[in-house]
């Protein structure tokens, strides 16, 4: 590095111009903060008239049309807005470091939004924002700790994965099924386990493969992981996470295999390959949360779980029915009923 110095201004003796200017700047900033705080009236919702519409803020970690995680929440919220139940404002591609997310949640709360939903595993961010706005209800996805104004909503994907597993058991010719996930988190672990368990009920010798990519957005690596499993003769796949599911779908198209979509209805992405999609119905969950908030009683520290009502195996009409033996379809339907009635308990294996 030659003599070109990055910079070497430095203030001289105490009375240097720069120091005076920088001190003035800091003082100005602090003064502005103090005066504005006093002037601006705290804008909380006028609790007098019970708002018919609940003001809901929705934070999404990805784009609203990603056909999976974020689109599921976005479409559910828009449906509630159309029904006039909520006054929705959302932020997509939100930052995912805890400090920034909790700050964004707090901004919504400060603007009088009664229910702030963080559609990701943002437990810490929700708790840090909730501490500051006891009157605002916060919710985050995926289960975990709850507190007096913090709730979480479950993603019982493993129950529907069990049903998909049954179909997979019928469809697979090689007796090998594949599964992809971003990282080995409990949610994905339980999903893959239930999928294999379901397949075993149809074909006892089914072999289940699993692969962890290491991150949730490297689609190229996810595709290669799926192709690797296809090389180990897997012919029916399931995925857990945005990147993994998008990668899996590209692999299915290339190798003409079958698979199930994750959270969003991904059937249209590969009509000939998608047996169906495990669609996350957030509408019932959001509706429940909105009702609790609307009735003025803040959500008791609740872990919202409406079981199969929030998760549905949406079959892909364009997928050739021939591949799915009728007997297996019937078995899946009956299992679906038995889970709904609670007769059949799908085990949740997280580790």
């Amino acid at each position: 590095m030659n003599g070109q110095s990055t910079q070497d201004r430095e203030d001289t003796v105490k009375h240097s111009a720069l120091r005076k200017i920088s001190l003035a700047l800091v003082a100005l900033v602090v003064a502005a903060a103090a005066s504005a705080a006093l002037a601006k009236p705290a804008s909380h919702t006028d609790s007098a008239a019970v708002q018919k519409k609940v003001k809901v803020g929705l934070l999404l970690p990805c784009a609203i049309n990603d056909h999976t995680w974020c689109q599921a929440a976005y479409s559910a919220a828009v449906r509630l807005q159309k029904e006039g139940a909520i006054d929705l404002k959302y932020t997509s591609n939100a930052p995912f470091d805890t400090a920034a997310v909790s700050q964004l949640m707090a901004q919504y709360a400060q603007r009088g939004y009664q229910l702030v939903i963080g559609h990701s595993a943002w437990q810490d961010a929700a708790f840090s924002a909730a501490g500051r706005f006891p009157k605002t209800a916060f919710a985050y996805a995926g289960g975990g700790k709850v507190a007096n104004n913090v709730a979480t909503y479950e993603e019982p994907i493993y129950q529907v994965a069990y049903l998909a597993g049954i179909l997979a058991g019928g469809i697979t010719k090689t007796g090998v099924v594949g599964g992809l996930a971003g990282q080995d988190i409990p949610l994905c672990h339980a999903e893959l386990q239930a999928f294999i368990r379901g397949a075993k009920t149809v074909r006892s010798n089914v072999r289940g493969l699993s692969a962890y990519i290491g991150d949730w957005s490297d689609v190229a690596k996810a595709k290669e992981a799926a192709l690797a499993q296809a090389d180990s003769k897997a012919d029916v796949f399931i995925a857990c996470g945005d990147g993994p599911s998008q990668g899996m779908i590209q692999a299915l198209k290339e190798r003409k295999l079958s698979g199930f979509g994750y959270v969003g209805n991904q059937n249209s992405l590969a009509p000939k390959n998608m047996v169906g999609s495990l669609v996350y119905k957030l509408y019932p969950l959001f509706k429940l949360m909105v009702q609790d908030t609307a009735q003025g009683k803040f959500i008791p520290a609740k872990d919202y779980d409406v079981g199969l009502k929030s998760f549905q195996l949406v079959l892909n009409s364009k997928y050739s029915q021939a591949k799915v033996p009728a007997k297996v379809m019937a078995q899946m339907k009956s299992a679906q009923k038995r889970i709904a009635t609670g007769e059949l308990k799908v085990p949740y294996i997280a580790k």
Binding site: G3, S5, D8, V13
Partner: protein, 529 residues
């Protein structure tokens, strides 16, 4: 070239210089360092445009947008610091920058190599076209530059201080080659500040001083005395040995004959071995000692291990073998800071790169090697007042021309900059001072000042190691003198036995016992008093 003007910021390097060159002529361009010789030729070579003036070639005006125009016109230049890419081969360096077909496969390089070999034979400049430049010696690299110019059939060849990096012996072999080229119609510009060479080698001489054209004379019409006066502009006795009125050689010699009372060795090196940056051995079994109140010189052409020696003595480079003792204590493993505390000091050879920090003020440059010590501060504080006070003192004592101590060191002229470095070093309680090329590129007045300071320090009991390529300086100052050649100390002379020729030969690696008759004739003419 008529009325060439070139300014660098506020410094006028060339103030309207006229210069003409006839075919088949060897034209000497003479002047002190900084007189504008190299600048004039860089303008001819298109490295940077002239601010004013015109250049014509074969009668037609020559437009120079960059070196490619000069090369196209047939002008070749051999720079003082060779402009070669070390990792490329000789052939690649030759072809670099040449216009031509995009592809450069193995076949085309073979063709280049063949032509280079042919030129090499014709002018006795043999060098392996496929060797990588960093493997070549300094002399060989110069041959590559000349061959490159010839390869591009240059009709004008500019040589910038060609003998500076060569040993006297190699320099001798260069002249006949230039003469054969001139005989074949090429015209050669020979930039130098050595009077003897220009007298012996050229048909015409142009003298420049401070960017002004002084005169153009033929060697027969003038004498070295007259050239020296034109070069320096005031009546200077021929041999710089006697410059300055402070002390006459006689008196200095008389005082020196008396052996120093008890020559306590201050600095001594034993069997130093060290590798250079390129991994080639730079120091081979170097041993010497310097006593208090003595100046020991190490003469030698640049690139023979001097900078490695400085770094080893200062502790910047760890030797592969051998010991360094300072004031009796073994400092081989000590870091530079502790050596400085024990009274060691270095006046580096490149004052702007290693002697000064241009962005810092003159005041800081005067004390920055003792910044953590009293009175300039403690381990945790800096005392600005005492720094400024000391700076004013030193500015006064070393007569540094500066408007105010806060002025940036980068703005100082060569002489002033060297004064600052000397002030920093000599302003401390020194036991041993290593001085490298102290007067390179200085004007005569500055040289006098430096010599006086060194001499005063020597008389004050400081042990001084003078590393220099300038024979005059060595013979003027040194009590004892070694010569370093390819990392090895060859020969040692006490002041009385100084013999310019034998030292010069030793610098060239020629054993001192060369018989009288072998000495090539040109060298004989040099011995002019």
């Amino acid at each position: 070239m008529e009325g060439i003007v070139k300014r660098f910021g506020s410094v006028v390097a060339l103030g309207g210089v006229d210069f003409d060159l006839r075919p088949g002529e060897i034209h000497g361009l003479l002047g002190e360092n900084g007189a504008g010789k190299t600048t004039l030729m860089n303008v001819l070579y298109g490295l940077f445009p002239a601010d004013a003036g015109t250049i014509s070639f074969d009668g037609r005006p020559l437009r120079l947008r960059g070196p490619q125009d000069a090369i196209a016109a047939g002008i070749g230049m051999v720079h003082q610091h060779y402009m070669l890419v070390p990792t490329l081969t000789v052939a690649e360096n030759t072809v670099l920058g040449e216009r031509g077909g995009a592809l450069l496969g193995r076949r085309s390089l073979e063709a280049v190599a063949a032509r280079l070999r042919e030129l090499g034979e014709r002018y006795g400049l043999g060098v392996d076209p496929f060797a990588r430049v960093w493997q070549l010696s300094v002399g060989e690299q110069q041959r590559v530059e000349i061959l490159r110019a010839l390869y591009r059939d240059a009709r004008v060849l500019v040589l910038d201080e060609p003998t500076a990096l060569l040993t006297p012996f190699e320099a001798e072999q260069l002249l006949p080659k230039l003469q054969t080229m001139a005989a074949e119609g090429a015209s050669i510009v020979f930039i130098t500040h050595h009077l003897e060479e220009v007298m012996a080698w050229t048909n015409r001489i142009t003298v420049l001083r401070h960017g002004k054209h002084v005169a153009t004379v033929r060697p027969q019409e003038t004498s070295t005395n007259e050239l020296a006066r034109m070069m320096v502009g005031r009546d200077v006795t021929l041999v710089r040995l006697a410059t300055g009125t402070a002390w006459q050689p006689g008196s200095a010699d008389a005082r020196r004959e008396k052996p120093v009372a008890a020559p306590t060795p201050v600095l001594c090196a034993e069997g130093l071995e060290a590798l250079g940056d390129r991994g080639t051995p730079a120091l081979r079994d170097v041993s010497f000692l310097v006593a208090a109140g003595e100046i020991v010189a190490i003469a030698g052409v640049e690139g023979n291990g001097q900078s490695e020696l400085e770094e080893v003595l200062l502790g910047i480079r760890t030797p592969d073998a051998g010991r360094v003792r300072l004031a009796g204590g073994d400092v081989t493993t000590l870091d530079t800071a502790s050596r400085l505390k024990r009274g060691l000091g270095l006046v580096p050879s490149d004052r702007y790169r290693r002697g000064l920090i241009r962005e810092l003020s003159v005041a800081h440059n005067l004390v920055f090697d003792r910044i953590g010590e009293a009175p300039f501060g403690t381990r945790f504080t800096l005392r600005k007042r005492s720094i400024l006070a000391r700076a004013v003192e030193l500015i006064e004592q070393f007569s540094i021309r500066v408007s105010r101590p806060e002025q940036a060191a980068g703005t100082l002229s060569g002489g002033n900059a060297q004064r600052v470095v000397l002030a920093r070093l000599l302003g401390r309680d020194l036991r041993c001072l290593i001085v490298a090329q102290p007067t390179r590129g200085l004007d005569v007045g500055a040289i006098e000042f430096v010599w006086e300071q060194l001499d005063a320090a020597r008389n004050g009991g400081v042990a001084i190691l003078l590393v220099s390529t300038d024979l005059d300086e060595v013979m003027a100052l040194a009590d004892r003198c070694h010569v370093i050649y390819e990392g090895r100390l060859v020969g040692e002379w006490a002041r009385g036995e100084f013999d310019r020729e034998r030292i010069g030969l030793a610098m060239g690696g020629v054993r001192a016992d060369v018989r009288e008759t072998d000495r090539p004739t040109a060298l004989a003419k040099r011995d002019v008093r």
